[in-house]
Each structure stands twice: as C-alpha cells, then as structure tokens.
C-alpha cells in the first residue's frame, strides 16, 4: 500500500476544506472497499479524510412516512431499523443480501453507494482497464465477462455496479443529498450513477470534492409489499449475477402501480421504467409479468458469455412479482 496522510474530520466544513487543499485526497467511511482497493494498488490516495465521525449516523422520520438516512449509518443499523423493515422490506433485504455480517457492521450508507465495480480486470493492476486507467482498453469485452453487464454498456466498459442497497434505493425513488465547495445539492438516486459511455472512469456524477451526507427515501405505501431477490453463485456472501427489487400495488386483480429495479446487469442500478409502465393497469398474472419483463429486457445486449443473464433477470422478476401479487 502506498503511504498516505490520515486526517480525521470533526465537522463537514473541515472535511471539505481538507479535501479542497489536498489533491488526490479521498473520503474514508467504513473503508471496506477503499482500504481493500488501496491494498490492491487500484486506489492510491495521498490523503484520507475520515468522515466516519461526522454527525450523519441517524435515521430520522420525515413527512408522511418518509425516512432521512444519514450517510454514515452503518449497513447493519439500516437493515435493523424497524421502520425500514416494515415500510420498505426490499431495502432491508437488499442490505442483508450484501457482504457479510462483519462487513455490514463497518460499511456505511454513503460508502455503499460509492463502492467500485468488482470486475476482475478493474481490480488487477497488471491488466488494462479503461475504468482504472482511461485509454488502456477493456479486456473484459473479449475476456472473462460472465458476471458483467448486459444493459447499457459501451465499447469502453462492461462493468456492473455491485451494490444491492443502491438497487432498492433506485426502485424507491430515493434522493441523495450532497455537499461540496459550492454548497449543497440533491440528486435522484437513479441519476447518481452513470452509464460508462466513453468516460468509464466516472462511476457517478459526483465531483471528487463532493460528499454524500444523506439519502431520503420518500413515503410509498405499497412498498410495505416489496422484496429483494438476489441470484448468485453461492447461497450467501456473494455478488449478484442478477437481482430484483420490486414493490407491487394490486387491487381487484389489476396492477395499480409498481416499482422495479435490477442489479448485477449494468454499470448502474437499473430502474425498470418500461416494465413498470407495462404493468400499470395490467392483470396481476404471470402473463403480464412476463410481458413487463420482456418490455424492459428487449434492450439487453448480452456479450458472448453472459447471455444467460437475460432469461435469468426475466425469470427472477416474474417470480418476484408472483410472490407479491
């Protein structure tokens, strides 16, 4: 690991001032991904600004049943919160499906959203990778890409975003609160992460000197009937091949409304707007669910070895909706 200076931020102003004056500095939250990437040589920050002690460790109730989740709330505490578990089961399940008990005790809400891809080429500094070193190429396109993207990828990058939490938040229309040198701004979660295009080195729309301080989850009554289903190569402690976050509002056998997002299929959590549109007003049955899945997945462009993800995503969504209907 390269040497770095360690600075503990006591307040957000101090954190922003430190990062503004230290080129190559990075914020440190739980460190479960960043410290690992530093050990691998993928990340080489000159300075770490520890923001884990800033007062963003609470979950507060907002208007009409919404929740305001501090960026420093640990993954375990988020999943254990009774309001999260009753109002947004998909959110608790998504967090609980990720990593291990030990890691969830350390990992933060903000850090989870900003974790980097687990694409094997990105994590191996002896290999080319446009995300790690722009312009060096993407060996994954012709190489080992069984676990990589089928939606929204580019010739420059076929990585997937690894977060489960972000998938549930995308489905729930969450909003991310950010502070930076110019003040604060809010970003809908579905716009936080980018598709790779020709700048795969940028995972999100954030600037390096911007800090996530909170995530708002708006009230959504029918999210009480929601779930997160994750398909992976082993039963636990593994990243998603495909995952689905879904909430379904059914009355008299008809779908009134739905919220759906896929994980493990793209460079960002994939909100399935076309599937939701297809479901509204449709009968709550397997045929409509399959049609909705197809409406979303017709844009898929699988690579040589990951075509299996398309029917897997379709079947996972149909099964999730049948469970909810």
């Amino acid at each position: 690991m390269e040497p770095f200076r360690y600075e503990r931020a006591d307040d957000v102003g101090g954190a922003l001032a430190t990062i503004a004056h230290a080129p190559g500095a990075k914020f440190l939250g739980g460190g479960t991904n960043l410290v690992d990437l530093m050990r691998l040589g993928v990340e080489r920050p000159a300075v770490l600004v520890d923001v884990s002690r800033l007062p963003y460790d609470r979950i507060d109730a907002g208007e009409g049943g919404s929740l305001h989740i501090g960026a420093g709330v640990r993954n375990s505490d988020l999943a254990a919160d009774l309001r999260v578990r009753t109002r947004y089961p998909m959110l608790a399940q998504a967090v609980l499906s990720g990593a291990s008990g030990q890691l969830r005790n350390l990992a933060t809400t903000g850090g989870n959203l900003l974790q980097r891809t687990r694409c094997p080429y990105f994590q191996d500094v002896t290999k080319p990778c446009n995300k790690r070193e722009p312009g060096t190429g993407c060996p994954a396109r012709e190489g080992e890409h069984r676990n990589l993207a089928v939606l929204g990828h580019s010739e420059h990058c076929v990585a997937t975003h690894p977060s489960d939490l972000a998938v549930a938040l995308a489905a729930l229309d969450a909003v991310v609160h950010v502070v930076g040198p110019g003040g604060g701004r809010t970003i809908p979660l579905v716009e936080l992460h980018r598709l790779p295009g020709d700048e795969p080195e940028r995972d999100t729309v954030l600037e390096p000197d911007e800090l996530i301080v909170a995530v708002d989850v708006p009230a959504l009554g029918f999210a009480e009937r929601s779930l997160y289903r994750k398909v992976r190569e082993r039963a636990s402690f593994s990243f998603a091949l495909v995952s689905v976050a879904a909430a379904l509002d059914v009355a008299d056998g008809k779908v009134r409304d739905a919220r759906i997002a896929f994980g493990g299929v793209a460079h960002k959590p994939w909100r399935a707007f076309a599937a939701e549109e297809s479901l509204r007003g449709a009968s709550a049955d397997e045929r409509s669910f399959a049609k909705a899945a197809d409406a979303e997945l017709k844009q898929a462009q699988p690579l040589r070895d990951n075509g299996y993800k398309v029917p897997l995503a379709r079947n996972a969504l149909v099964r999730a909706l049948l469970e909810l209907a």
């Binding site: 360690y6 479960t32 690992d36 254990a80 609980l96 008990g101 994750k230």
Partner: protein, 168 residues
C-alpha cells in the same frame, strides 16, 4: 516515506497510546506489534473472516480497519474472551462439539459467533428471515446465513453450527 499518526485505543481491556504508520491495519497491529496472534490473516481482503474481532462490541474484519482510524475504540480479540481462566461459552462449545480441524479459522469463527448472537439478541433480521419485520428465530439456516462471512477450509461447518446452536 511512511506517514505516522497517533491513536489511543483499548484492546482486551488494556489501554494503548501508539504512533503508527497510517497503513497499519488493526490485524497487523495486533499480530505484528502487540503479539496478539489469535486473530488470523487469511485473505487480508475481508473475504474469509479469519481476522474477525469485536470492535465496540460488534464483529468486524480487522484486516480492513486502519488502526489509526480507531481512536477511542474498544477492541476485544479471541485472547480477551475468556474470563478468569474460564472459557467463554462459545469457546467451550467449540471444544465440546469438535468444531474445527486445523483451527486456523477458529478464533474468527468464535468472535464472529459472539457478535452474531448479540445481533440476534437485538432482533436483527437476516436475508433468510422469512418476514424481515418480525423477530427472527435462530435455526440452522439462520446460523449458516449469519456466519457466511467466516470460511472454514477444513469444512467443519456442521460442528460449528452445532456449537453455535448449543450456546444460542
């Protein structure tokens, strides 16, 4: 050139004030500087759980923690679990159930199980809890899911589950 930073923390009840290379992980501090070699280095990437310790009462991977970030923390390792020369109930249960073969993962397994049972006590659900809003009840599936961050290459899992179930 190495950068240094000061940190004060408690390990197994003993206070320490240290000046450390900022790159030092808690695991390397324990093993290389303080001679507490109970916590093991398996993967050094947070994937195997052999380094699991209790940080402010919660299980955590010591390999991914930067020691200098732990100012004020209370760390308990496998060496700190026994009280007055009497084994912690989970240590005794691992012996009773022969819940290991080579023993390399055992300190991490036991610290993880201590933290896990405390999480259960607080009513935390897991991914296999059928109704995530309900109070979870421990069974074999719950133990396997909750202990999935600890790998045992000898495959002592059945006896590990039995030992944990015995204490729960």
């Amino acid at each position: 050139m190495a950068e240094l930073a000061a940190v004060t923390l408690t390990i197994n009840g003993e206070p320490y004030s240290l000046e450390l290379d900022t790159r030092t992980s808690l695991l390397d501090l324990l093993r290389e500087e303080l001679g507490l070699t109970g916590a093991k280095k398996g993967c050094d990437h947070g994937q195997c759980g052999a380094c699991t310790v209790l940080l402010d009462g919660r299980r955590a991977n010591a390999c991914l923690l930067l020691a200098v970030a732990l100012d004020g923390a209370e760390v308990v390792t496998i060496e700190g679990l026994a009280q007055n020369w009497s084994l912690h109930p989970l240590q005794a249960a691992f012996v009773e159930h022969d819940a290991f073969q080579c023993g390399y993962c055992t300190p991490g397994q036991i610290c993880s199980a201590v933290g896990m049972l405390d999480e259960l006590e607080r009513g935390w659900p897991s991914y296999v809890t059928r109704d995530v809003s309900s109070q979870p009840r421990l069974d074999g599936d719950e133990i396997r899911e909750r202990m999935s961050g600890n790998i045992c290459r000898c495959g002592a899992y059945p006896n590990i589950v039995a030992a944990v179930e015995d204490v729960a």
